[in-house]
């Protein structure tokens, strides 16, 4: 029989202080029973000889100092996992939300997860074809990568994430595939968009959804991505599946973290976010990857909305330092009516070099992408210059670059929401666009590929 404490001494924001405790451990899960029999869950954030500090996931509204009973369950937060989770919807704390039965857990796994030994990792190098040229061609995604989408409010990040989930495949292979979706603080409409998209395409059969919506407890959001990743680890490394994890919206997660930190009166780092935000985000993002001698993989696409489209805000900034690149959406392209509005220049995939080339995509891929980047960058510069001085002030070659950048946005970047381009199609569009330049301008492409592809398509 577990001890019940009636010794709640104070309640501050999401935190509850319990006194006169015995044998309570750091990180332990706590169960708080209200006067009216309602039950909420919490986690021990700090413990000293007589006081435990408990963070309550569902918020502290209604908890009272005198009548609430606190029980410490002697274990950390766990998620019961099983293959039956596929096709189901859970709340942000891992409880069924779709009216279906409870999951008969194959086993319970702690949601914090132990760090993966760098020696056990397998370097991600398998090309994932998303069918989106801006990603496949220029900022290639590979299996086991963590590649966030940096978006802003009002930009179509959900559509892009759904399109990736729908179209992602590894060429020439039929493998067990699953999607785990963790929603933190997104609206009902956004959540419905994903659910109905998954339903329409039949993807729901192999999807697991963890939903913490905008009107639900903010503190629960701290657990949600860990639930999703724990489930993904189980599917990937125990059931050998290739799992795509989408976490949206990381900004809301970080704000929940800030709320707890502020309530604890910790010394804040930048913009009030806690100093350990980097470490905390890393313990989430670093759970993506591959393990040697295990067939499964976790590919992670966190979505975050940059406050005021500011890339230097702590959330995108720290995310960018942990993830293996970033896909940045541009409001300017979106205004021009280009979908997907991916700003390819600041976007980056760090793992692309090992995932492209002969035998993976095509031999000329690396050179073509370098050339496209260089040309588009110069084209954009030329266009900026033209804005100041007028088109006439450009040299002939710069006019060509300016024309290239328009066509690049219109033909290479722009594509339909349901258009699934193969990598060969993507590269051929690239060559078609590069053909407007004289051969000498294409310095980044090797001679052999120039003679094979330049003006040949």
């Amino acid at each position: 029989m577990l001890k019940e404490y009636l010794t709640v001494s104070s309640i501050v924001g999401p935190l509850v202080f319990v006194e006169k405790i015995e044998d309570v451990k750091y990180g332990e899960i706590a169960q708080i029973e209200f006067g009216d029999g309602n039950i909420r869950m919490g986690r021990v954030l700090e413990v000293s000889t007589d006081v435990a500090l408990v963070q309550v996931f569902e918020g502290t509204r209604g908890i009272d100092v005198y009548k609430s009973k606190v029980k410490f369950l002697g274990k950390g937060i766990e998620l019961g996992v099983s293959l039956d989770m596929l096709g189901r919807v859970f709340d942000g704390f891992g409880r069924p939300k779709d009216g279906g039965p409870q999951i008969l857990a194959e086993k319970d796994i702690g949601i914090s997860g132990n760090p993966l030994n760098p020696c056990a990792r397998n370097y991600p190098s398998e090309f994932i074809q998303t069918g989106i040229s801006a990603i496949d061609g220029l900022n290639t995604l590979v299996r086991g990568q963590k590649l966030p989408i940096f978006s802003g409010s009002g930009l179509p990040h959900s559509k892009i994430a759904a399109q990736i989930a729908r179209q992602a495949k590894v060429l020439g292979k039929e493998e067990k595939f699953a999607v785990v979706f963790g929603a933190m603080g997104i609206t009902f409409e956004e959540a419905e968009f994903f659910i109905s998209d998954f339903k329409d395409t039949g993807a729901i059969e192999r999807a697991v959804l963890f939903m913490n919506l905008a009107d639900e407890s903010a503190i629960e959001r701290i657990a949600t991505p860990r639930m999703a990743l724990t489930c993904a680890e189980y599917l990937a490394f125990e059931k050998n599946m290739h799992v795509l994890v989408i976490l949206s919206d990381m900004t809301m997660y970080c704000e929940a973290l800030r709320e707890v930190s502020a309530a604890r009166k910790e010394i804040p780092g930048r913009r009030g976010y806690p100093g350990y935000l980097y470490t905390d985000l890393a313990t989430l993002y670093e759970r993506a990857g591959r393990i040697r001698e295990k067939p499964g993989s976790i590919t992670l696409i966190p979505v975050l909305t940059m406050p005021e489209d500011d890339k230097t805000h702590p959330i995108p900034d720290l995310t960018g330092y942990i993830t293996e690149g970033q896909t940045i959406l541009s409001r300017e392209l979106h205004r021009k009516g280009i979908y997907p509005p991916i700003d390819v220049l600041p976007s980056l995939s760090r793992l692309k070099d090992k995932g492209i080339g002969k035998g993976k995509t095509r031999e000329d891929h690396s050179d073509v992408l370098n050339q496209l980047f260089a040309c588009y960058a110069r084209g954009r510069e030329a266009k900026e210059l033209a804005v100041i001085l007028g088109e006439a002030a450009l040299s002939d070659i710069d006019r060509l670059y300016s024309k290239f950048s328009d066509r690049f946005e219109d033909e290479f970047l722009r594509q339909g929401e349901y258009e699934d381009r193969t990598i060969a199609e993507t590269l051929n569009i690239g060559w078609k666009l590069l053909a407007i330049f004289p051969k000498e301008e294409l310095k980044r492409v090797r001679e052999e590929y120039l003679s094979k592809y330049y003006n040949k398509l």
Binding site: K25, E286, A393
Partner: protein, 589 residues
Amino acid sequence: MNIGNIIKVSGPLVVADNMQDARMYDVVRVSDKKLIGEIIELKGDIASIQVYEETEGLGPGEPVFLTGEPLSVELGPGLIQSIFDGIQRPLDIIREKTGDRISRGINIPALDRSRKWHFKPMLKKGESVIGGDVLAEVEETALIKHRILVPVGVSGVIEDILEGDFTVVENICRVKTKEGINNISMLQRWPVRTPRVFKEKLIPKDPLITGQRVIDTFFPVAKGGTACIPGPFGSGKTVVEHQLAKWSNAEVVVYIGCGERGNEMTDVLMEFPHLKDPRSGEPLLKRTVLIANTSNMPVAAREASIYTGITIAEYFRDMGYNVAVMADSTSRWAEALREISGRLEEMPGEEGYPAYLGSRVAEFYERAGRVICLGKDSREGTLSVVGAVSPPGGDLSDPVVQATLRVVKVFWSLEDKLAYKRHFPAINWLMSYSLYLDNIEGFLKKEIGEDFIELRRSAMRLLQEESELEEIARLVGIGSLSDRDRLTLEAARSIREDFLHQHAFHEVDTYSSFIKQHKMLSLIIKYYSESKRALEKGVSFGEIASLKVRESIARAKYIDEHEIEKIDRISEALSQEIESKISGGGKNA
């Protein structure tokens, strides 16, 4: 010794009482799980302990065991080719024993206790020795002869010295000192926070040759020097660090992955065994020691990792080697300091960093240098440190960047604008600097060529002029510039695109020898001066811009090191083409 008693647990910080025997920075074992921790504050018998492992599940009342020793590393044969965590536990062996994930309370010695090394003494019985003398050379890898040194502070006469195959813990030598007999094995221990001792520090004089053109030619770092690479994410810090770890002409490289991505360490682990050292042809891993504390590993060990790394590097320096330390990234180390400082409720300095950040950074970089090692032979060793810094938003006013710039001598400023244009390495040539240019002038004149310094100066002048001319061109349009100015722009563009730009993943371009750099740079400067001569003789800029040889100049970087004389032929072709333009232009006029 007394056994302490936990009274508080808050993340990586544990507070215990009954700790009257504790000393600052001593190592302790926390709870029956025997988690490793270090004492960072003492108040009466109450000690604050930073724990190097996850503390979930710990609670008040659990014991704390004192070891009475500061955090130390094991030094001896077996370091090379190993991968350690922040407190020198061997990650590859941990994986064999405990599986893919790192669990807690693992206690495995850093160096393999069962492996035997052949010990062949270089000194004989009866010879007198002092600390630092070389007892023997053990062949650790094909690239590294591990010199077994008489421990610091031991001096006397060799009583007995053995030959044969021994493990690192077996005694191989006995030295009779004033205090008595001293047994020496191949394994030594050294506290990580104390710099290793040397005889004398010297001014660095030779360049650390990295094969990266922008670094070697424009912003070189000396052997024994310090450099930092600050830059926003995506600007290529890690690629530069990897390139240096791969191609720099240090004999031993210690790569510290401090709070960075797990896959980056995996990349090194998987790639280095296959990459060949350009000088010896042996795999690069045979000269590399890896320290990995990835961003998801416990934060306190991150703080220790750079000390672990640099102590190992100092040990190889003391053998007389040229050692290079790559630390990626020192910002994560500083953040770990900040996190612990915050939990100790210390008064913060800038941005929440502790007030002692500056002095800790300075102490770390000051462990670099060119030194005369201990021992009678007065051999020389160098330790170079290259630290990456990851300032938030790429903002150079960040306290870690500022603290670092105060002490390092080379600054490679990475810029995201260049990275977006895929100009790599994205080192800004106008912002960066190196204070070693004078130190290594002698080396350059002797080894590379008398004209090299002048070439570099011309190239830098062109780049400077370019930035001024670009301003003007932006205001009045490029058409209104004189032909001569347009040639300057063209030549500067050639320096940027054909020389500074270097493709790290291209099989040839990834490494450029100094000879090749010299030839390439002379070629471009010759293109400029010859074209200028042609302009003066009445050839139009349009004709110069359409020189056929331009394309060959652009492709010179892809010329293999074995066929380096091809660059001379481009140079000849350049002379001919210019000559024909001049004589052709003369006819038209």
